[in-house]
Amino acid sequence: MMYAITIYGESGVFENLPAAKQQEVMSGHRALQEELDKRGDFISVKLMPPSTAVTVEPPATADQKPLITDGPFAETKESFLGFYAADFQTLDDALEHARMISSPIARLEVRPIAWAGGAISSE
């Protein structure tokens, strides 16, 4: 089954870490990427800071166009930083891999990926 490992945290904290700690975080990601690469296709995405984002709001009424605003508003809480998507045998397998990138500055969520026709399966 395809799983996503999504990463949440405070934007900018990584950049404020001392170099040794940044290395520690990065080595976890490198190890996971090497591991996933051996197993087949995978996706890894790191988002730019929220300051680069533009928001498309749903129209207020049916005859209006969607409203484009210039960014998520002053959010001081955690934000969506990026994700991995790959094929894992089991939930435990996915969790095992998520552990490789766990660090005090990120909260991870492991969730199966849905498809319009049902869950994508490796079978």
Binding site: E10, G12, V13, F14, E15, N16, L17, P18, A20, K21, M48, P49, P50, S51, T52, V54, I68, T69, D70, G71, P72, F73, A74, E75, T76, K77, E78, S103, P104, I105
Partner: protein, 411 residues
Amino acid sequence: MTGWLEASFTTQRPHAMAALTRYFRDIEIAEEVFAEACVKALVDWPENGTPRDPLAWLLTTARNAGLDRLRKAQRQKRLLAHHAADLEAVDQPAPDPDELRDDVLRLLFICCHPALERQDQIAMALKIVGGLTVGEIAQAFLIKPKTMEQRITRAKKRIADNPVAFETPSPQERGRRLGDVSLMIYLMFNEGWSTSGGDIQIRVTLCEEAIRLARLLVTLFPGMGEQVALLSLLLFQHARRDARTDAGGKLVALEDQDRRQWDLSNIAEGSALLQKASRLNHLGPYRIQAAIAAEHARAASSEATDWLAIEAHYAALYAIQPTPVVRLNHIAAQARTKGAGFALAEMAPLADELDRYRWYHTMRASLLEQISDHRAAKAALERALELNPTEPEGAVIREKIALCEKNLRPV
């Protein structure tokens, strides 16, 4: 956990300091109680887990620490009586986002107080908002820590004597504050970027702090095109940090830089931000400068650069900022599109105004070299050398003079 939590405190610091400064109407108290809250967090968070909203946790803890203090301190009695109503109410630990963004802007604006010299404004922002130590700031400005300490104490006093209003600013006032704060951030970056010597690492820190503050402004005011453009401009510039000096620490001109050393993630983010800024209906100086930086960033080499586009950008910049230095930059681009002879003729009328500007003479020298007037080129370089260049600049100029002399010798 040491190191991990400090990074989070640094991230929260501007917001926390801003809200606490409004709450206590005093930067000193805000600094002290924020530090106290961080110390408490170092014990509490590893034990009970990091809170989902660290800012709210830090603010509540800092406020309560401050209130305890105020209740105890005799000298604060009057203040306590005055703000009794506000100070009792700890009902809303997470501040309202609208209020918070004006708080952060106010805190930065307080640092930009017009009674302070520019360098002291930057030092205040680094200390209060960035949380740098006095030692680090002193190192960045190449002065003794003791002197820096005195300057910061004096600056704090001046600020306290002439407080900035704590009411919600009018849109005009908000715009004015944004303009002043943006200029301070721009100059903070330039201070770090300038090559007046000193420890390279701490100067990079200055640039990074400026980027962090510019990013903060964009997060708070996502609809302000000039602030988005300022962040974009700083990122494009910062992308070149590793390429602008060689292994021996000597400066490398933009056209000679190894572009493979440019930081691609900075350039990518700068481009994304510039596109975002371009959606917003405005054309200010930061946006034009960012557009120029983007042209350089996307060119594979100096030859492959779209100099026509750059020339057009400088013409637009000159229309809103008609200064001789902008004009000189415009002419430098024209030298690429219309030739050295044309540029030299265009430069002539600026000779008096820019006589004390080193770059006028070094640029003239390189154009004169192009038309093989080695004698005049050498004279221009010697003039530049009289104008107190920094050590790395001086080294480059002397090298060029030697080259002129070689060219002057009969073969």
